[in-house]
């Protein structure tokens, strides 16, 4: 196959899939990885793509929708992707409400033998078409203005259940008052969930730190694992380190600086 032809096909694949990997392409075309790298170099100089760690993505200005380029959205996606890797096959997890958990649900849609319990209707909808994910929605009443369920019905429906990992996205985290959510009902539910498991994971984006919310859920040191990004404020980082909290910070090494 001529180089020109291969370049053309790489372009087509990229337009379709938005990102490619060097190893994958070298298998597809049966040429060495360094040949593929050179091809990608050429296309990068044309401005068609942007090389990433181990592959390439379509140059953003040509396709990416504006909301995908929003730093907060990108940050949440990063967190969700890392959190998704924490979920093993055959596990039962709880997903609390909130945009980060919603993204996590999207990342988990392709998994097999997974049980997701959630009190968020949006998450349930997100996973509705996932063929191998077993979704269980709690009962209870809708919290006004959200898609989240809470109340005695919700508490009732998780009684007796046990989770491998609950993923929570509190809306506030304060050094003194700990994690908190906006409504008492939600807080109650979360406390009930955390009471029955050890491996709780808090997903924290930049909006959370230093913000107070009405109903406290747990102290900062009580949730043993947090997933966040390098926007984690210094004082929080110091606190977590001092209290033996496992801090995962998600990076986007494959596509750094994609924000532009």
């Amino acid at each position: 196959m001529f180089t020109i032809e291969r370049l053309q096909r790489i372009r087509r694949i990229l337009l379709e899939k938005k990102r490619v990997e060097v190893t994958e392409l070298s298998q597809v075309f049966g040429v060495s990885e360094s040949t593929i790298r050179r091809d990608l170099d050429k296309l990068e100089k044309e401005g068609f793509l942007r090389k990433t760690y181990g592959g390439a993505v379509l140059a953003e200005d040509s396709v990416v929708a504006p909301e995908d380029n929003d730093p907060l959205t990108m940050e949440r996606t990063k967190i969700a992707r890392l959190a998704a890797d924490m979920v093993g096959e055959g596990e039962a997890i709880f997903l609390g409400g909130g945009p980060v958990c919603l993204r996590l649900a999207a990342c988990l849609a392709g998994r097999q033998r997974l049980t997701v319990v959630t009190n968020d209707l949006e998450i349930a909808v997100e996973l509705a078409e996932a063929p191998y994910v077993n979704v269980k929605v709690t009962g209870g009443e809708l919290i006004p203005g959200t898609f989240s369920l809470a109340g005695s019905g919700a508490l009732e429906s998780i009684r007796g259940l046990c989770f491998n990992k609950p993923f929570l996205a509190p809306t506030g985290a304060d050094l003194k008052f700990g994690y908190a959510v906006p409504t008492l009902g939600e807080a109650q539910l979360i406390r009930a969930v955390t009471a029955v498991t050890q491996e709780i994971v808090a997903l924290l984006d930049r909006t959370v730190f230093g913000r107070l919310a009405l109903a406290p859920v747990a102290g900062l040191a009580e949730i043993p694992t947090v997933v966040t990004t390098n926007l984690l404020p210094h004082d929080f980082k110091a606190f977590y380190l001092a209290h033996q909290v496992k801090v995962f910070t998600a990076y986007e090494l494959a596509q750094p600086g994609a924000r532009r």
């Binding site: 930049r206 390098n230 926007l231 984690l232 404020p233 210094h234 924000r259 532009r260």
Partner: protein, 389 residues
């Protein structure tokens, strides 16, 4: 910290390349001070077109050599042999023409090739045989001086053909001077606009248009002024033109090419350069080859200017070149330095020479003053670096 770092993305990248190279500007200011001083002391003679033309011709060879020396020093080496190599290349060109009747282009070409070969030879010793450059070029200094004595049999070789002499002594016709100035101005406009467009394309902040235009106007004014001054005497001297053309080439090489970047890397941290996969030997060798080529050019210009080759031609040029580099902010430790700085350094040295001659300063004082200026330049350099580091 992290928060700010990531949120301030846009503003960071923006201020980019409007930053001034402080070092170079300190030197420019020093230069202007020296000029002002001489202007007052010589009651105006120093800044007459005639003297400025002289000054420019005086600095041209040192300037040409200093450009190559910067590359060598930045790569962490030194070249002590260039005086002898300049003399040798000039002598060979003169012999080919005077004794063997070669035409000027042929003789010049051979001189340049000889410079190149010498560079290759010394570079090979330094890079592949790993003999320290100080030793290799100290040896070279003696060897090539010896060769000069051998080939010239101790005699001065002259006179040369008029077209050879023209390389060193003639001036551009006035209208061609203006024509070139116009071309340079156009190039400058094109480059500024292209840069502006590129910055815009990559999302960097750009100067407001009026400022941009003012900057362009300023540069054109300087070009015009320079040509005007030169033309008020006899025109732009050919060696000066040569210097300017080479300066453009070497600024580009040092700043805008992979090779230039590698030299800074190698001189800055050879071990890290090796770990980064840089071929240290090949790049260093290339620096020596370029130095050799410049020596060839310098030799031709020198011979042409003197209308003949003497056995002592080029003696101590290496010291002038090294001093120019150092005054221009080049660190002898390697990794730091700029071509523009070296040229300004050469201009400082030439100005001191010229001014003191105008003032009839005794020769011994000239040496003392130049030596002191060199030391003070390094002292200032060192102090400013300590403050920023």
């Amino acid at each position: 910290m992290a928060t700010q770092g990531a949120l301030a993305v846009g503003s960071h990248a923006s201020r980019s390349r409007f930053r001034f190279d402080l070092q170079a500007y300190v030197m420019v200011i020093a230069l202007l001070v020296i000029w002002a001083l001489f202007f007052i002391l010589t009651k105006g003679t120093f800044l007459t077109p005639r003297n400025l033309s002289n000054l420019a011709r005086q600095m041209s060879i040192t300037g040409i050599l200093a450009m190559g020396m910067v590359l060598i020093i930045v790569a962490g080496h030194i070249d002590l042999s260039i005086g002898s190599v300049v003399g040798l290349c000039g002598a060979v060109a003169a012999i080919l023409q005077v004794r063997m009747g070669w035409t000027t282009p042929a003789a010049v070409l051979v001189a340049l090739m000889l410079g190149l070969a010498v560079g290759l030879w010394q570079g090979f010793w330094v890079c592949y045989l790993r003999v320290p450059a100080f030793i290799v070029t100290l040896g070279g200094m003696m060897i090539f001086r010896g060769v000069i004595l051998g080939v010239t049999e101790g005699q001065t070789i002259s006179p040369l053909e008029p077209d050879f002499v023209r390389i060193g002594q003639s001036f551009l016709p006035l209208h061609i001077g203006w024509l070139l100035a116009g071309l340079a101005a156009l190039c400058c406009i094109y480059l500024r606009l292209k840069r502006r467009w590129e910055r815009q394309r990559y999302g960097f902040e750009i100067l407001p248009l009026p400022l941009e235009l003012a900057a362009i106007a300023g540069i054109i004014f300087l070009i015009g002024l320079a040509v005007l001054v030169m033309n008020s005497y006899e025109g732009v001297p050919i060696p000066v033109l040569l210097l300017l053309l080479l300066a453009v080439v070497f600024v580009v090489i040092s700043r805008k090419t992979k090779f230039g970047r590698y030299l800074y890397a190698i001189g800055g941290n050879a071990e890290a350069a090796r770990l980064s996969g840089i071929d240290i030997r090949r790049n260093t060798l290339l620096a020596f080859v370029l130095m050799g080529l410049l020596c060839g050019i310098g030799g031709v210009v020198l011979t042409a200017r003197l209308n003949g080759a003497t056995t002592s031609a080029g003696t101590s040029f290496e010291m002038d070149a090294i001093a120019s580099c150092v005054i221009g902010g080049t660190s002898l430790m390697g990794g730091v330095g700029s071509v523009v700085g070296a040229i300004i350094g050469a201009l400082v040295m030439a100005s001191l020479d010229n001014g003191m001659v105008l003032l009839n300063t005794p020769t011994f004082w000239q040496y003392i003053v130049k030596g002191l200026i060199l030391m003070v330049a390094v002292l200032i350099d060192f102090q400013t670096k300590q403050r920023t580091a």
